[in-house]
Symmetry: C2
Subunit: 317 residues, 2 copies
């Protein structure tokens, strides 16, 4: 009988799960909508129903050894989701207890970026590494930091919010209520904001001048840059420079061997990472110069559920 | 027979040692000048001679279980001092091997701020804490960061250089060759530089206007501030604000339960820590608000050797 860990990734729209063995192979998977149920308990019931249905359809019998969950504002220490901004359920949600009571196996919880960081070590490019970090570049900027071989959770379970380092005091307003946070510059949304800043500041022709703010995406800016659009190229230069400066400072704190990038914006590739690397090396303390590898995540599109399952497999290795 | 660990603190001028039991009690101590010997091997020989002489004078017999060393650019992973800026010996100094061969006990090495951080947990105010940091405020700004109960060394042994976070791109020139590092603002030297900036910028009378740059000390600025000197008070406001901003960013990475302060400048007390606390809370992400204690170190003047000895006692607990 095959041992598997169930990885669950809770997003604002969909909740995805997958049954994953110790080599990262998926035996079954599925998804439900995240926010149709009024009560959180009903949502968990529906999720567990879907998982059990999926497992019962398998020809081979499997043995579930645990459930790992990646969720916004997921706290590893308490096993609860705490005041998640993008979920309809308020307050403290004791997801680990609810799933554990229903499925009778250990449940581990953390946020999606921390899960991705563990996943990178168990199944991806960070095998054997003890000190590295994973940065997720999507609508915002998330981070999972591994030091001394363990995830850096901090005293309260909420460490690793790299997206909320203030890079420019008094700068762009952020969803967290402050100004100048890294993710207001370095994220899909940040690229869009920088596009509008550049369109105002410069006078060059650009295909971006024909797209209203609410329709513009980071992908469009990347496509324009790939086509040689001068302004679009400058937008990525600006974004990469800001991230490079931030990483140079982070190196002074955690001294990672490698930084892995994951998420939609990371697909921009060297358009983004060339200026990141240049700015990081230019601004970094001599102790860390030419030591840090900037790498794409090796997890692919299943990173979220692989990372969640890694919460369980990590304890077995 | 009493078990003791020898703690050695290597400073630019003096090397101090102390024989410390598991409760932090010192049985014997002494010091030698650090840089009189041309060869590093001779310096180590003289240091071990002094330690043995000191131990042999004791009436009660003691059992040395190990030697802990705090030294500039001390690398825990390799046990070597690497290119220390303020020592006369260049290159890689294999201090752990040299002392180990001579004294026939395990030797552990790290930099002085990391040693102070361990000392705070074994003998000071961080007992039972798993996530905290120690900041040493002297000529420069050093830091030792503890996460998940262990010192944060980074992949290369050089993590925790908080003093070299760039706070103001293009700002004050730093000994590291870059500009705008935190320690160019927040340190005894930083206070002095801020004093001259303020004396230029403002026109208020101040006792500081009669002191040449090369004679001015942070202590003089603190004394003036305590006497109500308006400019001196503004200097500490400025210094504290800068440190508070930096700590708010660091919280987003490591989420510490407490931050301990140690060193000459830390003696300025609330003159410095009131603005630090205000600026930190004003700039911090909501997740960490009102969670972090700013505390004076409880180690007192023996912090350096207690911290070094803690490298050994930490492994026994």
């Amino acid at each position: 009988m095959k041992n598997i860990a169930i990885g669950i990734d809770i997003g604002g729209t969909n909740t995805v799960f997958s049954c994953i063995d110790s080599n990262g192979k998926s035996y079954c998977n599925g998804s439900i909508l995240t926010q149709t149920q009024e009560k959180f308990e009903d949502y968990i019931d529906d999720l567990c129903d879907a998982i059990e249905l999926s497992i019962n359809k398998l020809e081979d019998k499997i043995n579930v050894i645990g459930v790992g969950v990646g969720a916004p504002s997921g706290n590893y220490h308490t096993g609860t989701i705490e005041n998640a901004a993008n979920l309809r359920w308020d307050g403290i949600l004791n997801i680990s207890r609810l799933i554990g009571e229903r499925m009778k196996v250990p449940v581990k919880l953390t946020n999606d970026a921390n899960a991705a960081a563990l996943g990178e070590r168990i199944f991806g490019g960070a095998k054997g590494m003890t000190d590295y970090m994973v940065i997720t570049l999507g609508t915002g900027l998330g981070s999972g930091i591994v030091v001394n071989g363990d995830l850096l959770y901090g005293h309260d379970g909420f460490a690793g919010e790299l997206g909320h380092i203030i890079m420019r005091p008094g700068g762009r307003v952020c969803g967290c209520g402050r100004r100048g946070c890294l993710e207001t510059y370095v994220s899909a949304t940040g690229v869009k904001r920088t596009a509008y800043k550049m369109l105002a500041k410069e006078m060059d022709d650009s295909s971006l001048r024909d797209i209203p703010y609410n329709q513009l995406t980071a992908k469009m800016v990347a496509d324009a840059a790939s086509n040689g659009d001068k302004l679009a190229l400058e937008i990525f230069e600006y974004t990469g420079k800001m991230l490079g400066e931030a990483l140079a400072n982070v190196a002074s704190i955690t001294s990672p061997k490698a930084i892995f990038f994951f998420g939609g914006l990371a697909k921009a590739g060297d358009l983004l990472f060339k200026p990141v690397r240049e700015a990081m090396e230019k601004n970094i303390l001599f102790l860390y110069k030419d030591k840090i590898d900037l790498l794409p995540s090796k997890l692919g599109d299943d990173a979220a559920v692989l990372g969640a399952a890694a919460l369980i497999w990590n304890d077995k290795k």
